[in-house]
Structures are given as structure tokens and as C-alpha cells.
């Protein structure tokens, strides 16, 4: 991964709210960039050097268990700006990476999730 590699994050349909009147059309919650208990403070992303957004979507949803509304991306530079390390671990599949929120209190996780969501929609 290089500093501008897209780190592709799948967005669950429940994290999207349609707003058919505003120009914004839909909104995505900052929770899309907040690790869940299952993540163990390591937010799963796809390495954009190995997966296109479409490929990551198809890979994520192919089992029929996982749902995704679509894909958003941040870069390692944007993570570094928030002091969030990111790295590729290729586990459980080649091209799996994570953004590490380890050690942060909940309010800081909320803040950094907002910052990443903001970076992703710019």
C-alpha cells in the first residue's frame, strides 16, 4: 500500500438513510467508520491496490451473509492525519487491511470516525 492507496470500506444498508428531497440524496452515518465489537478496534478495509471498489463489494457480499450498500474510501495519509495506523495483514484473505483504533476511548473513536467519514465523502 502507498500513502494514496484507497482503503475500501463496505457500508451496511442500515448505515444509509435516503433523503429524496435534499440535493444530498442520501446520508451515511459516521458509524460506517467506527469499529464494531467484532472488529476488536481494528476496522476492516480492502486494500485498493488489490481490489477495485466493485471487486471488493462483490467479494464482501458473495457469501450472501454480508450486506453492503456500497463502498467508501479513505487513504493511509488521511488515517495518519488522525493518528490512526493502518496496515495490510492479508487475514482472513489476501488484500485485507485494517485501520487501528486500539487504545482509544469511545469519544475519541467517535471523533475519528467522523473525521474519516468526512474525508471519505469529500
Amino acid at each position: 500500500m502507498n500513502p494514496e492507496t484507497p482503503l475500501l470500506r463496505q457500508v451496511h444498508p442500515s448505515f444509509v438513510q435516503v433523503d429524496h428531497i435534499s440535493a444530498q440524496v442520501f446520508s451515511v452515518t459516521s458509524q460506517a467508520f467506527k469499529p464494531t465489537p467484532k472488529d476488536g478496534n481494528k476496522l476492516s478495509v480492502y486494500n485498493g491496490d488489490k481490489f477495485s471498489a466493485k471487486e471488493s463489494f462483490e467479494h464482501f457480499t458473495s457469501s450472501g451473509i454480508n450486506k453492503s450498500f456500497g463502498v467508501m474510501a479513505v487513504t493511509p495519509v488521511e488515517c495518519e492525519t488522525e493518528n490512526l495506523p493502518c496496515e495490510e495483514n492479508n487475514d482472513p484473505f489476501n488484500g485485507h487491511a485494517f485501520i487501528d483504533f486500539t487504545g482509544l476511548p469511545n469519544n475519541q473513536i467517535d471523533k475519528k470516525a467522523k473525521k474519516l467519514r468526512n474525508a471519505a465523502v469529500k
Binding site: 442500515s14 438513510q17 428531497i21 435534499s22 446520508s27 452515518t29 467522523k114
Partner: protein
């Protein structure tokens, strides 16, 4: 019968109309199963009651196998107290489920990114307003049973959303 002079736009399977003589405000056109065309007042897409109905359909495991479903009676409590205490002059929030069985309300206005993480079980909420221009964060935990805490929330939102 459908008025012939009204103007509208077609979006996402719905016709959204501007002001009409029949209805004071935006309206939408519905075609019933019997083929009748009905005009009705358009709901705000962020209408809390409607959103609560959607959220009440979630099941445990809604988030790709994890995620507690919010309890219906707790959602109804939130809907009622929101209707009762939220300042109607403020914009409605986006409302999302949270993995812990709560909900998260969110407002975005220019440089401000605001969230209210609601613990439905304990009727508490964590408010966080982030100003992206200077990274300043305003945070407070609110007791949603107390009207004065709702007033504080309304005051804080008024400040950041009207800024």
C-alpha cells in the same frame, strides 16, 4: 382527480409536487391499488415516527451477524419523548441503528458534524459536536428523562446548526 396545472418532479418512484391548491405545502401523488390518484401531504423524509417504524423491523444480528436490534418499546419511548421535547424549529436528524441496540441521531451543517448516541435502555445519550475547521469538540452526557437536558440539547443544536 389529478389537477392538470400542478408542477412536479419525479424522483425515486415518487412524484414530488411543489405548492398545490389542494394541499398547503409539498405533496406527493399516490396511485392506489384501485387506480385512484390521491394527493397527500408529503412526509419529511427524515420524519422520526416513520424512521422509528423502519428501525423497529430490525432483528438481532442486523449488522452482518452482529448488532442488537433496538427494542420496540424503547424505540416508541424515544419517539414519544423526541416529539415532546425536541425543538421543532431545529432540523430533523438522520437516525441510524447502533450496534449496541441503541440509535444514533446525526446532524451535519457546514463545518459541524454532530451526533447523539442514544442508550435506549438507560435513557441516556452522549452528545458530540465536532467542528471540522478547528477540530474542537463539544461533548456532554445527557439524561433524556430530564426536560432540562432536552433544553440543553436544543440550545446546543441551535448554536451549531444555525452557525
Amino acid at each position: 382527480m389529478m389537477p392538470s396545472t400542478i408542477k412536479g418532479i419525479y424522483k425515486n418512484g415518487q412524484v414530488i409536487l411543489e405548492e398545490t391548491p389542494e394541499i398547503n405545502g409539498p405533496a406527493e401523488v399516490l396511485v392506489t391499488f384501485t387506480g385512484d390518484v390521491v394527493l397527500r401531504k408529503a412526509l419529511n423524509p427524515l420524519d422520526i415516527t416513520e424512521r422509528i417504524k423502519e428501525l423497529s423491523l430490525l432483528q438481532d444480528g442486523w449488522l452482518n451477524g452482529e448488532g442488537m436490534a433496538p427494542k420496540k418499546e424503547e424505540l416508541q419511548w424515544f419517539s414519544n419523548i423526541f416529539e415532546s421535547c425536541y425543538d421543532t424549529a431545529l432540523p430533523l436528524p438522520y437516525l441510524y441503528p447502533a450496534v449496541n441496540g441503541g440509535v444514533q441521531a446525526e446532524w451535519v451543517n457546514g463545518n459541524y458534524d454532530v451526533s447523539l448516541n442514544v442508550d435506549l435502555k438507560n435513557k441516556k445519550a452522549f452528545y458530540q459536536a465536532l467542528n471540522h475547521t478547528n477540530d474542537h469538540v463539544d461533548e456532554i452526557t445527557l439524561d433524556l428523562v430530564k426536560r432540562e437536558d432536552w433544553q440543553l440539547l436544543n440550545t446546543k443544536l441551535l448554536t451549531v446548526l444555525k452557525a
